[in-house]
Symmetry: C2
Subunit: 297 residues, 2 copies
């Protein structure tokens, strides 16, 4: 297995590498749970070499990386490009490696001055989505730990808005009294009911959340229903806040299939019919676009 | 030190005992961090005897207890009384103890059917507040991990609403990316600005919370300001949801002085002038009321 270059998606909690051939085909994949949060800066290079140890690297093997690997606590800090700009803008950060066999470049993140906001990793997915859809004009939604709502026009990111919905869900489900009443299950009807409730009464979140606990104590509320209800309350409030991003505009959701299906169902209930794309496919397409753009940097 | 009886406030994370004389005076106090969450049911009795080991207990020493000690996972389950009812209603649960020197009774909590809600411990504080204010007709606010908004009329709890604002604050400040940007500090102006923001745009919580992180990354936002801003966003949304409880009604806040002062400042900014009472004094007064009411049960 002799890759021409390596595409690398290194996030907070996972890392994934693709061995690429010259024509942009994938020869092999490797992944591990050694995400950025588990590593000190000096540990990235050995972790990377370990991850790709089954592959025979060429001399000065190009590696294009995106994600939290470029954070201040990552392999090397990659900075931010200020919007409005194309999703791949500025210049990638060249990582100083101990091995002279590697030429590692990290894609810069994007920042916004007012209101203050940042993204790191999603810019690559946006570029990957736009590769086959260069004329897309509307809103990209990238649901996850920190969901991004991104206004796209003429191939540029005009503005964006983060909602830390996924992380708030996890904090409430695992680090409050709700942990006694919530499991990993799901309930579509409860989710859609809660979407409607969260959209119309977002101020009730802290009360509705406790009602989930009380409903479990007093009425034996099912823990899967509880999970979907909490998620719906949060996503409903998020939709209320992001209304200028989806009302009357073309939308596309990019992400993991299950999460994408939840956001798609929530938007469809509001009369919106989003396009859908896989997050990992967009990441890979974006890293290929980064390599094409910055091959000579 | 020979108490006539013992008043006991046993919460999730702390326990506090008062040695009482026959006239209702306090002879001594003892407290420890051995809250309900740290104990199995069988460990409560030895923990209690350890807590009061400096005191000489009378035969069949009456102990009146409130708080999470009466939860399913507590010393003995104390059940709930359904509102509307007086804050001390029903009958206390008599705990089966190994020692025949103790007669321990736990105050029942209160429950509400629709919307489902529960309280445990606050009913005693409410009774304690009403002892010297029997004609109070309006809203009691008991801020804390689970803030209670309680409609009082004719000496009864008519309805109540919980907002788990304090616990959501702690989960976000300690178990999300905000932990890198928030400390235990405070900033009055930032709190009041965020109250106003949270009241008018409660749907923006998940986005405003991430902006705290981005503002810290991009502009070096002070971590005390960040703490007060997050708290204000949450309390502002809580005020929006609790509007029917405070708009145009007499209000009183019962709790720990610092937290009470934050809620009082937030309400004053809305033109409301709440009465203020200390939570621990109300708890003790409520336990005295419980003893007077249930001495013979």
């Amino acid at each position: 297995m002799h890759p021409d270059w390596i595409a690398l998606d290194w996030g907070t909690s996972n890392v994934r590498a693709w061995a690429m051939d010259r024509a942009g085909g994938v020869l092999a994949e490797a992944s591990s749970p050694r995400g950025m949060a588990t590593l000190s800066p000096a540990e990235f290079e050995p972790a990377f070499l370990d991850l790709v140890s089954d592959w025979t690297l060429p001399d000065a093997c190009p590696v294009f990386a995106c994600g939290m690997v470029g954070a201040r606590q990552g392999w090397a800090e990659a900075g931010y490009q200020a919007v409005p700009c194309a999703p791949l803008s500025g210049t990638p950060t060249r990582v100083e490696t101990l091995s002279d066999q590697l030429v590692v470049r990290i894609v810069p993140g994007l920042s916004q001055t007012r209101p203050p906001d940042v993204m790191r990793g999603e810019e690559t997915q946006i570029a990957g989505f736009l590769s086959p859809n260069p004329k897309f004009d509307g809103t990209l939604i990238l649901p996850g730990t920190h969901t991004k709502w991104v206004q796209i026009s003429a191939g540029e990111v005009v503005s964006f808005q983060t909602a830390m919905t996924g992380e708030i869900y996890a904090a409430l489900a695992h680090h409050t009294v709700l942990r006694h009443s919530i499991t990993d299950g799901w309930d579509d009807a409860a989710f859609l009911d809660a979407i409607s409730d969260g959209l119309s009464r977002p101020e009730a979140l802290a009360t509705r959340a406790f009602q989930i606990r009380a409903d479990n104590l007093l009425n034996g509320l099912d823990s899967s229903t509880a999970a979907a209800r909490l998620s719906g309350l949060l996503v409903g409030a998020e939709l209320a806040n992001a209304r200028p991003y989806w009302l009357g505009l073309p939308t596309a959701i990019v992400g993991a299939p299950k999460l994408v299906s939840h956001y798609a169902a929530a938007l469809k209930a509001q009369g919106v019919a989003p396009l859908i794309a896989r997050g990992d496919a967009c990441t890979l397409a974006g890293l290929k676009a980064a390599r094409a753009l910055w091959k000579e940097t």
